[in-house]
């Protein structure tokens, strides 16, 4: 069986267009608060802005980005010890452990490069990635009901999960 080989590097500006394509995918979009094209552009802008801080990692297969993990270090001293992160894997590359690989590297970056002691995430009910986060020791600390309202009228709860580094 052919083994997929990935490498990891800091995200570069051109990765933004791959991320933009992943965000267009309906299943992916279900797990994020954005929906309209202008919202996707706005989210992309705020993520790409993090790249020069070296707060984002891209998983590469060959020369192609296949996943990304982003931390959002706080600008304020009171919150500087912890932060939120986002993980996303290209729809056609899911189920290949890329998410696990990225998460290990992202936790390492958060702890050793940014000196963080805690990471947290916000995820929506039913997202298969919850299993990954639980496996990595993230614990659910809040359930925020009806946080998202899909255009169909369906509501999704938001889970907040955290772990020490």
């Amino acid at each position: 069986m052919k083994q997929d080989v990935w490498s990891i590097r800091f995200s570069e500006p051109e990765d933004g267009k791959y991320l933009g394509n992943w965000f267009q995918d309906d299943i992916t979009r279900r797990w994020f608060p954005f929906y309209e094209p202008v919202e996707i552009e706005d989210t992309l802008r705020s993520i790409v802005k993090m790249f020069p801080q070296k707060a984002s990692l891209t998983a590469i297969q060959g020369k192609e980005p296949v996943g990304m993990g982003i931390i959002y270090p706080h600008a304020t001293k009171k919150l500087a010890h912890q932060t939120l992160f986002t993980l996303i894997v290209a729809p056609e590359h899911r189920g290949k452990k890329i998410g696990s690989y990225l998460l290990v590297q992202l936790m390492h970056l958060a702890k050793n490069y940014f000196g963080l002691s805690d990471l947290y995430l916000e995820v929506y009910q039913g997202n298969p990635a919850i299993r990954l986060y639980e496996r990595f020791g993230f614990q659910k600390i809040a359930v925020r009901h009806h946080f998202l309202k899909e255009p169909s009228g369906e509501y999704l709860d938001q889970w907040v999960m955290t772990r020490k580094l």
Partner: protein, 166 residues
């Protein structure tokens, strides 16, 4: 007490009212309820609040031109979260525990329901902050706790998640 409260007026917040909020935020005790200490971050926060005044999503409690409290509904900019909202609320330090916060909160809830069709509030408040009992009285439920979310003067404070369906 309610008779006294009737002498206060509530109006939409004007941009100049935020100068008073800026002053209140300089007080260390007031600022403890907010996740920042840096003036430049406070300025960014107030810039966001100014946007809310343009949508008439912010209310000010006044009596004879003096500002006693300011509160705002934080309108969510994305379609999938536009049905819910957060709140900001600051009462002048010398006039707390006089039901001014209740008066303002009551009006913000009505404004959220009637003008902005908000279905629920999702709030984040720091542990031990005096607004927590007030929110409890108004039917906000605690739905989570993020331990050690904020560090201030050598102490850690949890972030408390609250929600209320309107």
């Amino acid at each position: 007490m309610w008779e006294l409260l009737s002498s206060y007026q509530i109006r939409y917040t004007e941009k100049k009212d935020l100068q008073q909020v800026r002053q209140w935020l300089k007080d260390p005790e007031t600022r403890r309820g907010f996740p920042f200490d840096e003036d430049e971050v406070a300025d960014q926060f107030l810039l966001g609040w100014e946007q809310l005044t343009r949508f008439q999503a912010s209310l000010t409690v006044v009596q004879e031109e003096k500002i006693y409290a300011v509160g705002a509904i934080f309108l969510m900019p994305y379609r999938k979260v536009a049905h819910q909202s957060s709140l900001y609320l600051i009462v002048d330090k010398e006039h707390r525990r006089q039901k001014i916060g209740s008066l303002l909160l009551n009006n913000l809830i009505e404004l959220a329901k009637t003008r902005f069709k908000i279905e629920l509030f999702q709030l984040e408040v720091f542990e031990g902050f005096p607004i927590l009992p007030l929110l409890g009285n108004f039917g906000f439920d605690i739905v989570g706790k993020h331990p050690e979310y904020m560090r201030d003067q050598g102490k850690s404070f949890a972030r408390i998640y609250l929600e209320k369906f309107l």
